[in-house]
């Protein structure tokens, strides 16, 4: 009997220590997550086309010179992804953007940039972007007041701007579609809306 109790006592202490270690590890991980989750959602910069407004109808040329129609009502929504060959975040984000768009139904991805066409041709070849719409137009960036990159705008089938903002991670890109589904334009609008609902409750 004594030996049984002794064995159980020893075993229980080992288990307690292992569990305590696991708790410490979990708490550390939660701490790291807290540091990283804080700013989630596409950040809408102050100016630009308002969410809910009609997108301007533009026909910027792609790299082959063919015009790409943006902003007119069509069978597909459009995700405009503004990038630059010299922006490292844009490059790392591109595969995620393509995956996110592929996971959605009826969404067309249009990459947009400005500057010399030769640079963009080299970038498309290097990044393996053949087959995607890639427009080069200063006018388009000006119309959406794109000041910081990477920037994305989601235009729905009716040609209405549904969400827009600075996107830095896959979560930000996904949040644009989330925003369309929920009918809120940006993370600020979402937070303000939730705060007002909480005050009512």
């Amino acid at each position: 009997m004594n030996e049984t109790l002794l064995a159980s006592h020893l075993l229980l202490w080992v288990v307690v220590l292992v569990l305590a270690g696991v708790v410490v590890a979990l708490v550390r991980q939660i701490g790291i997550l807290h540091e990283r989750v804080a700013p989630v959602g596409a950040l809408a910069v102050a100016d630009g086309i308002e969410v809910g407004a009609e997108a301007p109808v533009l026909r910027p040329p792609d790299l082959t010179g063919r015009p790409v129609e943006i902003g007119r009502a069509s069978a597909q929504s459009t995700l405009l992804f503004f990038l630059s060959p010299t922006c490292p975040v844009c490059k790392t984000l591109l595969p995620s953007v393509r995956r996110v768009v592929a996971a959605q139904t009826e969404v067309r991805l249009v990459l947009a940039s400005d500057g010399p066409v030769e640079e963009h041709r080299a970038f498309v070849a290097a990044a393996g972007l053949e087959g995607l719409s890639y427009v080069v137009s200063t006018e388009l960036g000006l119309a959406y007041r794109v000041a910081k990159l990477p920037y994305a705008v989601l235009i729905d089938r009716a040609g209405i701007v549904r969400a827009r903002g600075l996107v830095n991670t896959r979560e930000h890109v996904e949040s644009l579609f989330e925003a369309e589904a929920r009918g809120v334009g940006s993370v600020q609008e979402f937070l303000a809306d939730r705060a007002s609902r909480e005050r009512v409750v």
Binding site: L6, W13, V14, L17, A20, V23, V27, I30, G31, A195
Partner: protein
Amino acid sequence: MTIDPVLDLTARAGLATVLATAALHKVRDLDAFRSVVREYALLPNGSERLVAPGLAVLEIALAGALVWPPVRVEACVALGALLLAYTMAIGINLARGRRHIDCGCFGPAHRQALSGWMVWRNLVLLAAAVVAGWPVSPRPLEPLDFFTFVSGWLALALCWTAAARLLGQWDAVRALRSPT
């Protein structure tokens, strides 16, 4: 009424560990701790030059005294007084509304704004100090007792670390809940 020697040993070793780690944080960056003492705004200006290193030395001395059996009762009484002083310092600044200042608990790397739970934490330490200073029943220690003591000490230290970190993240959780 007396307590078992294993409980006494565990309580003293646990308190000594808490004190030693706290002192280590202070000694590592004494300048930062001086400004923490100044921010508490309880002592005349300039006195933090002496008070800050003094507190660190006092904590190390207390940690040593706690594990030295002949002076354990005195060490526990002194620790109780120090804890009460810390708790009052925190309580006064909470009452003043100076919640933004660093508590100085975990060193400058982990700044931690003052909060009500720190008062409760110090009361838990105070209770442990009472246990550590309580009369001990005379009982010869067996080898198994040492195993129990070491395991209990380690488990308490781990749980203490986890609890302190969790409570420290409280502000972040609250910020996530209320975005305004």
